[in-house]
Structures are given as structure tokens and as C-alpha cells.
């Protein structure tokens, strides 16, 4: 399905399964297919008797890829999710997020508390978004490539160069979201999940504490491979099944 965001950017999304809906919000440089489909999440959600609404964030996957950093303001990304919920005819939703998707999912819950029941935030720490990448550095970072020492910068470089990605759009996304903090109060129950070796989300326990959230640490997983973990799936689906 395709739906236009508030400023006209086209958003690609898919609905799978029947039952109470779960909105899936992927991480930086990924998309719904890589983050949720190939990792078995869509199948697990459908098997749990839920409906998966999986969106490609702007700048990602099959959605529009604006090049202006201002197009990646958090408010606009939240408006994109609202547009998809409206198009899907979904009033109230549970939200499942990974990495950068958590910034958007948490802000959706803050701005639209009546529409968000519960939020799962995985692979996200308590620090501001893209900490370690200075103002105006994102474009040079994705153009230079290489392997920066900073784990966040390294992840940005790796994801930007992945097949199908537009490095310029992703650099704009980094600049537009840089400095966003994830840790202010959220009016919904939150579950925080992270791999024990996730260098990008090594402050996830602090985020959990700041949000008054339940916290699950997935042993021996890093930012890349915690996504598919059975413990993550079981914890999240249990949390989202609660009344």
C-alpha cells in the first residue's frame, strides 16, 4: 500500500494477518522487509493472532526519500505513522520498534496517547540520537565510508552503503534527527530490549529506567543480530498480549 505523508512524501506499508494491530517501525538504514519480514517477526506476529502493519520510514525502503534534513524532523516522521494508521483504518495500536524507529514510536505515544496502547523499544539507548556524529558531519561520513571508531558512526556508514539505500537521503535523515532524545516520559507501558553486546544501545538499561519500563537483555547479541532473537520475540509478544 502507498499513502502520502503530511508533506506529500509517499509512504510504503504492508498489512499482514488479522487481529489486534501491531505497528512495526524499523531502524536506521533498514526497512520493513529486512527488519521485520526476513527476521521472522511478521510470521511470529501473525502466528500470535495479531495483524502486522509494517511501514517503510521516509528515506528508507520503498518510501519517498527527500534529501532535505528538515524533511526528517521527528514531528514529520510521527505524522507519517499517523497517516499510515489513518489509511489502515486503525484507531489504537501497539507499537514495536527497533533502533531509530524507537525515537519515532515513543514520540507517537507522547503526541497521540489515545492511539498507542503499548510500546516495545529495542536496540535503542538513552543517549541523544546519532550521538558521536557532529553537526554537519553526516554527509561527509557517508561519503567517506571506512570504519569509524565510534559504534554509532560505524553503523551509519555500514547501513548507508547497503544495497538499495540512498546515502544522501540517509545523511539527511541523520542530520534531521540528530540530537533527538528518547528518554522523556511516555504515557504508555514500555518494554525496552537490547542485546548484551549492542554497542549502539549500550545505555538501553538507562533508557528503561528513565521510562519506567520493563527491561530485557538478550545474551550474546549485538545491534545487528538481536533483531531476530527468540527471546526478543517472546518477550515482546508477551508484553503486547497483556491487557
Amino acid at each position: 500500500m502507498r499513502t502520502a505523508g503530511r508533506d506529500g512524501v509517499e509512504l510504503a506499508w504492508q498489512r499482514t494477518g488479522d487481529g489486534p494491530p501491531v505497528l512495526l517501525v524499523h531502524g536506521f538504514g533498514s526497512d520493513a522487509a529486512a527488519n521485520w519480514d526476513r527476521t521472522g517477526w511478521v510470521r511470529a506476529i501473525a502466528d500470535a493472532g495479531r495483524c502486522a502493519l509494517a511501514v517503510d520510514l521516509r528515506g528508507h525502503g520503498a518510501s519517498g526519500k527527500p534529501l532535505d534534513p528538515a524533511a526528517y524532523a521527528l514531528e514529520l516522521l510521527v505524522a507519517d505513522l499517523v497517516a499510515v494508521l489513518d489509511a489502515a483504518g486503525t484507531e489504537v495500536v501497539d507499537v514495536l520498534t527497533y533502533s531509530m524507529g524507537g525515537l519515532v514510536g515513543l514520540e507517537l505515544a507522547r503526541r497521540h496517547p489515545a492511539r498507542v496502547r503499548r510500546v516495545v523499544v529495542a536496540g535503542l539507548g538513552a543517549r541523544e540520537a546519532f550521538a558521536g556524529i557532529g553537526p554537519g558531519e553526516a554527509r561527509a561520513l557517508v561519503e567517506q565510508g571506512g570504519e569509524p571508531a565510534d559504534p554509532v558512526a560505524r553503523e551509519v556508514v555500514a547501513m548507508s552503503s547497503a544495497p538499495g539505500n540512498d546515502p544522501s537521503a540517509l545523511a539527511a535523515c541523520v542530520e534531521g534527527l540528530a540530537g533527538t532524545r528518547p528518554d522523556s516520559e511516555v504515557p504508555a507501558p514500555v518494554l525496552v530490549v537490547a542485546g548484551s553486546r549492542d554497542a549502539v544501545a549500550d545505555s538501553a538499561a538507562e533508557l528503561g529506567a528513565a521510562l519506567g519500563a520493563q527491561f530485557v537483555l538478550v545474551p550474546d547479541r549485538d545491534h545487528r543480530n538481536a533483531v531476530s532473537a527468540r527471546l526478543f520475540k517472546r518477550s515482546a509478544l508477551e508484553f503486547l498480549a497483556a491487557e
Binding site: M1, Q14, R15, T16, G17, S30, A34, D37, R38, T39, G40, V42, R43, A44, A46, A162, P163, R221, R224, N225, A226, V227, S228, A229, R230
Partner: protein
């Protein structure tokens, strides 16, 4: 009947190998077709592979942490005469759904696709 061996499928993007993260089944387990089988990791991402058939797991060819080349044996199921294996074992050669399912049944979901679009 002969046992049925499945290789690691082509996971796309020109990747030639993957590392087993965690098996979601054990040797001796009866599994359903399309049930989660194994998590593997490529240099790009983590992928969960669903079972290509129903049946009893005879052998897992790589332990967690081991790397398997695309096309090398990943899992072997007991032959069709074993309990639970008859229903789904086919005449053609089904493959694990990595990117290209080789066999589809109209009444059962092989890959999850949206009902609309």
C-alpha cells in the same frame, strides 16, 4: 524412504555464507512446515529461516556459531515414512525459503504477503 537434506539457501545480495545464531528446533523434533527453524546471520543482517516441510528433524549440520556456505547441508529431515513427514513431503524438491521458494501450496502460506496491494 530416503532422508531429505536441505542446503543453506541463497539469501540474496550476493552473500555466500551465513553463521548459525540459534537453532529453533532440535534433532528428533517434529516440526510443522513454515515453523521457525533457525536464525542465521550474514555480514549484512540476521535472518530467520522457516521450515521447508513438516517432519522429524534427523540432523542439524552446523552448531551455533559455525559458518555454512550457501548450498552446503543445513538440516536433514527423516524420510517420508516417518510420523508427520508424509503430509508435506513432495515429489519435487522443495527448498528452504530464503529468497526463492521452489514450491507453493495455494492453501498454505509460504511467504507472508499482504492481502491487499
Amino acid at each position: 524412504m530416503a532422508d531429505i537434506e536441505f542446503p543453506l539457501p541463497d539469501l540474496g545480495e550476493g552473500l555466500v555464507e551465513a553463521t548459525v545464531l540459534e537453532w529453533l528446533v532440535a534433532e528428533g523434533d517434529e516440526v510443522e512446515r513454515n515453523a521457525p527453524l533457525v536464525e542465521v546471520e550474514t555480514t549484512k543482517s540476521a535472518v530467520e529461516l522457516p521450515s521447508p516441510q513438516a517432519g522429524r528433524v534427523l540432523r542439524l549440520h552446523a552448531a551455533a556459531g559455525e559458518t555454512v556456505q550457501v548450498g552446503e547441508p543445513l538440516i536433514t529431515f527423516a524420510g517420508q515414512d516417518s510420523p508427520g513427514g508424509a503430509e508435506d513431503a513432495g515429489q519435487d524438491s522443495p527448498g528452504i525459503v530464503g529468497t526463492v521458494p521452489t514450491r507453493r501450496e495455494p492453501t498454505r502460506r509460504v511467504r507472508l504477503t499482504p492481502p491487499e496491494d
